[in-house]
């Protein structure tokens, strides 16, 4: 084992600070200047300005760069990022699957990218047709009668679904009494945050030893003050909620609504329709299940499907098909329903709609079913291949993600965070850490269906090597990690205690310190 022990070697110090292909890059404020530009503009014609008393005395104090300098700056920055295109990105609950480039090409067709949201409806019939067809696919895949397309991301879709529920309760005249929203303790943080935003009181439901909602505890909490449950299915432990139909029935009987967080729809798309489970509202992350790129944290898109109990309350705007083509219902007065209002300016994330429809048409009904099957197969393969050396808190089969706790690290001096950072040196993006909260030192691995068996085999072998190394007492491999990334561990405490949130010239910083 001794020759396996990593020798801590300081990397060669270079004169430039660069390390071959890892190039240091300053901030634009340190390399650009305000009179430099990478854009050639036509001269400004003489006019009598009509700016009233609002003209600024000087140009903004922001640096510019010529085009070659700007490209070099951003390309160097890009090289400090891990990405799906470069390697496995098994972040649980994030569904980091391949982003097909056909989708990018389609979204950039001028017919979609170069049209204005408020130009006459007669001049955007193809755009409305695309939205209508996307809606058809989403409704059919979920067996739900309606979908609100406008929410801008998952949490925004959640807000939309809960707003529809609130509007339905208000229409029943029960807003004063139905104040409680049941949220499992394993839920995404956005769920309680959304419920609280709408003035509901969040009531946590415990999990059972199985990693699922405790059915008895849930039923005990039901009452005529319950507005809704917010349940993720498959849940954040990567498990299908076996009692989901019973939960829905009991909830409906008690007069509540069923909100399902659709973040994990990738596990069941094409195989299970949420409408068949008794769900009343569910957001769909187009940036997860339907492959629109995550873009370093957005833009996302969170269309929200609604049951017949909530359909009438869908927000503005929405597309309708008429005899003379498609129309856009943008105002309450035009609507035959009782829309609860507007989530956002304009009509939603059209760029994401195009990508998602391109993805759906590419896979088709058969391919989407295969997506779910391969995603679940890959996750179970990882679980089965690692559960003898890592500790899985719940029995399988899992759905699209495999959950481990830190039991296997006990006594090694290595924690979940260290284990994750060591994966970085091995060329992997770590899995989701410390989530869900119901498991100690959680590690949630979601490989997705777009990883090959060879990739998974190497990943599995690497994790087994790391476990062996931790058990062998090679603690430094973990606690010093990452050593080979563009940066070693960053001091997050310092960032929070003395927040520096923008660049300031040295003299400004000195003045601020005085």
């Amino acid at each position: 084992m001794n020759e396996m022990t990593p020798m801590k070697q300081d990397r060669k110090q270079t004169f430039t600070g660069h390390q071959a292909l890892i190039l240091e890059e300053k901030l634009i404020f340190e390399i650009g200047s305000a009179d430099k530009s990478g854009v050639d503009l036509e001269p400004v014609p003489e006019v009598n300005t009509r700016l009233g008393d609002c003209m600024a005395p000087a140009k903004p104090d922001l640096p510019g760069l010529s085009e070659p300098e700007a490209l070099r700056h951003f390309v160097r920055l890009s090289q400090k990022n891990h990405s799906i295109d470069a390697g496995l990105y098994p972040l649980g609950s994030c569904t980091m699957k391949h982003n097909p480039r056909l989708n990018e090409k389609m979204a950039r067709l001028p017919g979609f990218s170069d049209i204005h949201p408020l130009q006459p409806v007669s001049t955007v019939q193809g755009a409305l047709e695309l939205m209508d067809e996307l809606a058809h696919w989403l409704k059919t895949l979920t067996n739900m009668p309606a979908v609100a397309l406008s929410p801008k991301a998952g949490a925004h879709g959640e807000l939309c679904g809960m707003m529809a529920i609130r509007a339905a309760i208000e229409a029943r005249g029960e807003l004063e009494t139905r104040r409680r929203v049941l949220v499992p303790e394993s839920a995404h943080g956005t769920n309680p945050a959304t419920a609280a935003l709408l003035g509901f009181k969040v009531d946590e439901i415990p999990a059972n030893a199985d990693g699922r909602v405790d059915l008895a505890a849930f039923k005990d909490k039901l009452g005529d003050d319950v507005a809704a449950i917010m349940l993720t299915n498959p849940n954040t432990c990567g498990l299908f909620e076996r009692d989901i139909i019973e939960i829905a029935d009991a909830l409906h009987e008690a007069g509540g609504y069923f909100y399902c967080d659709g973040a994990n729809f990738n596990a069941i798309v094409g195989r299970v329709r949420p409408g068949d489970l008794g769900i009343d509202a569910m957001h769909i992350n187009l940036h997860k299940t339907f492959s629109t790129p995550h873009g370093g944290g957005g833009p996302g898109s969170g269309p929200t499907v609604l049951s017949d109990r909530l359909e009438a309350f869908a927000p503005l705007p929405y597309v309708v098909a008429g005899e003379n083509g498609f129309d856009l219902i943008e105002l309450e007065a035009q609507s035959a329903n009782q829309p609860f209002g507007r989530m956002v300016a304009f009509h939603g994330q059209m760029g994401m709609f195009v990508r998602a429809l391109s993805y759906m048409k590419s896979h088709g009904s058969d391919g989407l079913r295969q997506v779910a099957e391969d995603a679940v197969l890959n996750a179970n393969y990882v679980l089965a291949s690692l559960q003898d050396v890592m500790t899985a808190p719940f029995a399988g089969p899992c759905m699209h993600e495999a959950l481990f706790d830190d039991g296997f690290l006990k006594g090694t001096g290595v924690e979940t965070l260290d284990f994750a950072k060591a994966m970085i040196d091995e060329g992997y993006h770590p899995m989701t850490m410390y989530f869900p909260l119901v498991v100690h030192g959680a590690m949630l691995i979601e490989p997705t269906e777009t990883e090959s068996r060879d990739t998974l085999d190497l990943f599995i072998a690497t994790l087994r090597d790391l476990v062996r190394s931790a058990n062998a007492g090679e603690t430094e491999r973990f606690t010093n990690a990452p050593e080979l990334a563009p940066r070693s561990r960053l001091d997050e405490t310092r960032a929070a205690r003395q927040p520096i949130l923008r660049w300031q010239a040295a003299e400004e910083t000195a003045q601020a310190a005085e």
């Binding site: 609002c54 130009q119 923008r502």
Partner: protein
């Protein structure tokens, strides 16, 4: 299926490693009543070429902004985006990366977010900015909620000259959250008495700059009056390029500035994705929504960046979070930062001046048409005109002549008694020839109306 690497042989071998016979054995937790035996009734998979055919056909039915004289604005603007911006945002490492939760291998994203925050601070004249919101409208809704939290009051006074969709977002959040809103009567060019509407339960006053009708005014006096009554002034900037030429909201005394950043780096995209801007005074930092990127050092003492102050956020604070936002507009903020970097301060000033010059020329030309009145006294690149006929009808007639002539106010404010008012925007994307075509087309259309 071209996106799925597993072969039937792989699948068989993997199932046996797992110790099950068929894929169905992995779905045993699904209640029987909900198991589907076969594919859902939707079309089967298609080749790249087939998908392209379908989508080309839909795209071809839309009239695009670059192919006609184009004058629509009202919160979304046609600008030229340099080719290199799209190349930068399509780098795999930016496009296919997640929120930077592992900072050691996402310094690229984190550094551009830090640059983005700094640019937003400088443009708005505010000391702190976040790493973006979904868009201008949702940023504005969050700003009102933030003002309620800071002041512990629950009523917002909103200018009737705020974009009606932004107003709709605030109204909806207020309805749902149990808050109140108040507004003066609608007005095309009148000065509003917002101060008179402030009462002891008012947290904030929301104004737009340039406003929905294109008008610009200095809000310094209003800021002082609002603040002397214990309220916050929220200034909404729908067209960020205007700040290349106009006084900054921060210099006027704004407490919170929100904005739509689409004009820098991002196309029209039929309304989204766009990029919401959010900036505030430093003392309100810990009440801000959204992600914040901060500078720090690594274990070797090298400068690096991380997401910070996350104790405000939903994944830590859950039901006590400042907002439920998680994903924001990462890639759109990169487009913003890349475009802004290519322009530089000098370039932005030039671009803004060009926009203003085009708009002034257009206003001069349209004012020369009998029956047409420019009703916006001072403006940047968009203004309102009063027509001798309903604006929706004129816009349709112009569209038939392949001129997209603007946005009728009635489409967004049907009850405002402004059926004859049209919003018209001009940018650097319009040539002088476009302006002449518009003038001629409008003259022709109006002749038809009077005849």
């Amino acid at each position: 299926m071209r996106y799925l690497p597993l072969t039937p042989t792989d699948r068989g071998a993997m199932l046996s490693r797992i110790g099950v016979n068929t894929i169905d054995d992995l779905f045993i937790d699904v209640p029987e009543a909900a198991r589907l035996d076969g594919p859902i009734n939707l079309p089967p998979h298609q080749s790249e070429m087939q998908v392209e055919r379908d989508l080309f056909a839909m795209a071809a039915q839309n009239k695009t902004a670059s192919t006609v004289p184009f004058f629509c604005g009202a919160g979304a603007y046609k600008h030229h985006v340099p080719a290199s911006v799209d190349h930068i945002i399509q780098r795999s490492e930016f496009l296919t990366s997640y929120t930077p939760y592992q900072p050691e291998i996402t310094q690229g994203t984190l550094q551009y977010l830090f640059e983005f925050q700094t640019q937003v601070c400088e443009l708005t004249g505010m000391p702190v900015a976040n790493a973006s919101m979904y868009d201008g409208s949702t940023a504005t809704g969050e700003a009102v909620l933030m003002a309620h939290r800071i002041t512990r009051k629950k009523r917002a006074v909103i200018s009737a000259r705020l974009h009606p969709h932004y107003r709709g977002v605030i109204d909806n959040l207020s309805d749902m959250g149990g808050f109140d809103v108040a507004s003066p009567a609608d007005s095309v060019n009148g000065v509003e008495d917002l101060i008179a509407l402030i009462d002891e339960d008012t947290s904030s006053v929301v104004v737009q700059y340039p406003d929905f009708f294109g008008n610009i005014m200095d809000y310094s006096t209003i800021a002082r009056e609002v603040q002397s009554r214990g309220c916050l002034l929220i200034v909404v900037v729908p067209e960020i390029i205007s700040l290349g030429l106009l006084k900054r909201p921060g210099d006027m005394g704004a407490d919170i500035v929100t904005g739509e950043g689409q004009s820098l780096g991002n196309g029209l995209n039929f309304g989204g994705p766009y990029v919401g801007l959010f900036a505030a005074k430093e003392k309100y930092l810990r009440q801000m929504p959204g992600r914040l990127c901060g500078e720090t050092v690594d274990a070797d003492g090298k400068r690096g960046f991380v997401l910070t102050l996350s104790t405000r956020e939903q994944h830590i604070r859950r039901d006590k979070a400042t907002s439920n936002i998680c994903t924001n507009s990462g890639l759109c903020s990169l487009a913003f930062t890349a475009h802004m970097t290519l322009l530089g301060g000098q370039g932005l000033r030039h671009l803004a001046a060009l926009n203003h010059a085009r708009a002034v020329h257009l206003a001069d030309k349209l004012e020369g048409i009998a029956g047409v009145e420019v009703v916006t006294p001072a403006f940047f690149n968009e203004f309102a005109i009063r027509l001798p006929a309903p604006a929706e009808q004129i816009v349709e007639a112009l569209a038939e002549k392949s001129v997209l002539g603007g946005v009728p106010v009635s489409r967004l404010m049907p009850d405002s008694d402004m059926d004859d008012v049209l919003l018209v925007a001009a940018t650097e994307a319009n040539t002088e020839a476009d302006l002449e075509i518009y003038e001629t087309a409008l003259r022709d259309v109006l002749k038809g109306v009077s005849a």
